[in-house]
């Protein structure tokens, strides 16, 4: 019974942690817009957590610069299981206009497993919500306590 309760709760309360790995802040602003009255993603139980230890979903924005690569990976490793990694915007997907730069270390999925990618530069809030709901679906999949 507890397991079912926990599984149900997991889908209802995804806390997100936002990592900026060299973004132009466009996606960050869109992400913040989600929390405002217009899109209000708190109705889905989404909350911006302050520490990766609290998070279920890690949202990464920006191409992975060589400065930020180690740090992003470290933060990702510090999130307790079960976790879902969402790449937000075109940059973590394909490096976007920064592709080929000497300081960009390629897309995020080169370094770690990415569950959901939301395209766009910057993605519309509706798209982000859609992506987060997909992430919640994946979070549901990682069921049970045994995955802990």
């Amino acid at each position: 019974m507890f397991n079912r309760l926990i599984e149900k709760s997991r889908a209802k309360s995804p806390w997100i942690y936002h990592v900026n790995s060299g973004s132009c802040n466009g996606c960050d602003i869109e992400l913040v817009a989600l929390l405002g009255p217009r899109y209000d993603c708190e109705r889905l139980g989404i909350k911006l957590a302050g520490s990766p230890r609290h998070a279920d979903i890690v949202v990464v924005t920006g191409p992975i610069t060589s400065q930020s690569k180690d740090r992003v990976l470290r933060v990702l490793s510090q999130v307790p299981e079960p976790k879902v990694v969402v790449s937000l915007g075109s940059c973590p997907m394909s490096c976007n206009v920064f592709k080929g730069s000497y300081s960009v270390e390629g897309p995020l999925d080169k370094w770690t497993h990415v569950d959901v990618s939301v395209g766009g530069c910057a993605p519309k809030p509706e798209a982000i919500i859609d992506g987060l709901i997909k992430a919640i679906e994946i979070l549901k999949e990682k069921r049970g306590l045994n995955n802990v």
Partner: protein, 642 residues
């Protein structure tokens, strides 16, 4: 009265003295034997005190003994008398217990030092003189014992004389300490000039109704003198230096017990010698409460800005002594039920302070023993290496901050209750605030010494040996016991002691013959009814049950929740997963310690803290000026009101 009970106090005093001489005479041979000797000869007084429990606490007797059988001639004391009432026994219990534990702690703690025979000589002298101080019934004998105590304490403070701080602290201590002793001696002389006797019981009988300017001057001098010993503000400057630089096994005695001897002196003066002037006198009540409040506030404020472990604890002692003095100040109230609550609070806090502050000092000693420093800015993360010490320190933290169900709560509560019932509600507010400040500086210690990141050079330290852990565990056990079973402590110790403080008639009659006191006082001396019924709504048994049930409930729920979660994978601690989160940066050494904490508080009151810091200039002349000024102010106040 049994035959043996009258010889016990003499034994308790003389045997440690004897041991001191034996150790001194035999030089630095057989040090191992001397350690054992010290333990044995501090255990014997403890045993003697425990044996005295039956006649004094249970049967309600007051044990007296005339040295050399110089019994009073025509009800005039000519010899030196020992007299132990329940209050003396209570102090004696604190002293002997603490000394015994300290001697056990010293075995390993002092092993790296040389000149140990001197250490043990002075240690035994300190023990014996403290016991002698509280057991004696003679005013001059009190002074002599106090001087021996001061010498031994100074010698022990300066024992590690290869460190500059020990020497400086020793010098400051001897100047201020001997000034205090001089004041006491002066007071004693003036009292002798009036009463022509030195027996406390007789003085209090004779002085009754015969107070004049000289005796009041003597009261002021002795009050200030004992205030130096009990380090009340502004005579609180030496303990910070001395406690910091003495070996921890001695700091424990200095702060836990020697301050109590100062308080013992103050109590004997106020409640016995100047009984009819001080008890139920609102002006004296105000003086003591005011003095205690200032002491607790300034001690706590100074403690917040310290960075040295032991120096912080020393200022904390100053602050806690303030609580005790406030308690006894309320004890002078005219409302008897309030007065009894206050006295009991003061007594209880004396016991508690001796226990938890000794424990904290031993923790500091343990840290010093393993790391070689007590500077909080250079320490950190010891919890992983010294788990026992950490737990014991946490117990002392909880006790001193007054977390229920630890002992600090009970005594502080009695003091709060007595202050607001006596009508001193601003004191209640300050006392509660100081309690939070106490918590704050202990949290600071916990954070900077035991938690956080460990320094590179301390990575290989080990837990302290068992012989050092045992005394600490005993102290911690007493802390918990005194908090949860306060009915027992109150019945067996506090109430008899509080009764004894007020029972001046019995004290006088035992020394002379029955009816002597009534004859001198012309009336029956009232003793307030001792009852702890008025002391609050606290019932720890209830509380304990609550706690146990909750813990069981919690365990049940936790086990339900963690069902199926038993699978433990192998943890690779070098994984970045276990890094401390620092915004994704690589883990590096970063530790909040010492004065990094409480910035908001220190910033907002920077003027106040800066003034205080500058006032403690470290110049010995200034400190003497403070004591002298204090004596002057007390004298003027007493002449104005009495």
């Amino acid at each position: 009265m049994n035959g043996y009970s009258s010889i016990l106090p003499l034994m308790a005093i003389m045997l440690p003295f004897l041991a001191a001489f034996i150790i001194a005479l035999t030089g630095n041979k057989a040090l191992g034997l001397k350690r054992v000797l010290a333990v044995i000869f501090t255990f014997i007084p403890l045993l003697a005190v425990i044996l005295l429990f039956k006649p004094i606490i249970e049967n309600g007797h007051i044990v007296s003994y005339w040295l050399g059988n110089w019994v009073p001639e025509k009800t005039w004391a000519i010899g030196i008398g020992l007299e132990i009432d329940a209050f003396g026994l209570f102090c004696g219990l604190i002293i002997t217990l603490t000394c015994f534990l300290s001697s056990i702690f010293s075995i390993r703690y002092m092993e790296k030092d040389n000149g140990l025979e001197k250490y043990y000589t002075m240690f035994m002298l300190l023990t014996a003189s403290m016991i002698g101080f509280v057991f004696t019934g003679d005013l001059f004998n009190m002074y002599v014992m106090l001087e021996i105590m001061t010498f031994a304490a100074i010698g022990l403070t300066a024992f590690r004389n290869h460190k500059y701080k020990s020497i400086e602290a020793g010098f400051k201590y001897i100047v201020i300490g001997s000034l205090g002793s001089s004041l006491i001696l002066l007071g004693t002389v003036l009292i002798y000039a009036q009463a022509h006797t030195l027996n406390i019981a007789q003085i209090s009988a004779i002085l009754h109704g015969n107070y004049n300017a000289v005796t009041i001057f003597a009261l002021a001098l002795m009050l200030t003198g004992y205030a130096v010993k009990a380090f009340l503000v502004p005579c609180h400057t030496w303990p910070a230096d001395a406690h910091m630089s003495a070996p921890s096994s001695i700091s424990m005695l200095l702060s836990g017990v020697m301050s109590k001897t100062g308080i013992f002196g103050i109590i004997r003066i106020l409640y016995m010698i100047y009984r009819s002037k001080c008890v139920a006198a609102p002006s004296m009540e105000f003086l003591m409460i005011f003095w205690g409040t200032i002491t607790m506030l300034i001690g706590a404020s100074m403690a917040i800005i310290q960075t040295d472990f032991k120096r912080l604890l020393a200022f904390s002692s100053v602050s806690q002594i303030g609580y005790v003095i406030v308690g006894f100040g309320v004890g002078l109230s005219a409302k008897t039920s309030v007065a009894v609550t206050g006295t009991m609070g003061g007594l209880y806090h004396m016991l508690n302070h001796a226990m938890f502050k000794s424990l904290a000092f031993l923790c500091a000693g343990a840290v010093l023993y393993r790391t070689g420093t007590t500077d909080t800015t250079k320490l950190g993360g010891l919890a992983k290496k010294m788990p026992y010490t950490t737990v014991l320190f946490m117990i002392s933290l909880a006790s001193i901050a007054g977390m229920p169900p630890f002992n600090g709560f009970v005594s502080k509560w009695l003091i709060y209750q007595s202050t607001f019932e006596a009508g001193y509600w601003p004191v209640t507010i300050i006392a509660l605030l100081v309690s939070v400040m106490t918590l704050a500086y202990f949290i600071k210690l916990a954070q900077s010494v035991f938690f956080g990141k460990i320094h590179k050079e301390h990575e290989n330290i080990k837990e302290i040996p068992w012989s050092m852990r045992v005394p600490m565990i005993v102290l911690a056990a007493v802390c918990i016991f005194a908090g949860t079973f306060w009915n027992v402590i109150s019945d067996k110790l506090i109430e008899p002691a509080a009764y004894a403080i007020y029972n001046i008639q019995g004290y006088i009659d035992v020394m002379f013959n029955k009816g002597y006191a009534q004859n001198m006082f012309n009336h029956e001396i009232p003793i307030p009814k001792m009852t702890r019924a008025m002391a609050g709504y606290w019932s720890p048994i209830n509380w304990l049950l609550l706690f146990v049930v909750l813990i069981i409930g919690f365990i049940v729920i936790a086990s339900l929740l963690s069902k199926g979660n038993k699978k433990e994978s192998i943890i690779d601690l070098s994984d970045t997963k276990y890094d401390t989160f620092t915004g994704g940066e690589k883990e590096y050494f970063s530790h909040m310690a010492g004065n990094d904490l409480f910035w908001g508080l220190k910033h907002q009151f920077r003027g106040y803290f800066k003034t205080l810091k500058n006032a403690h200039s470290g110049i010995v002349n200034d400190y003497v000026l403070w004591v002298a000024a204090c004596a002057a102010v007390v004298t003027i106040y007493l002449f104005a009101v009495l």
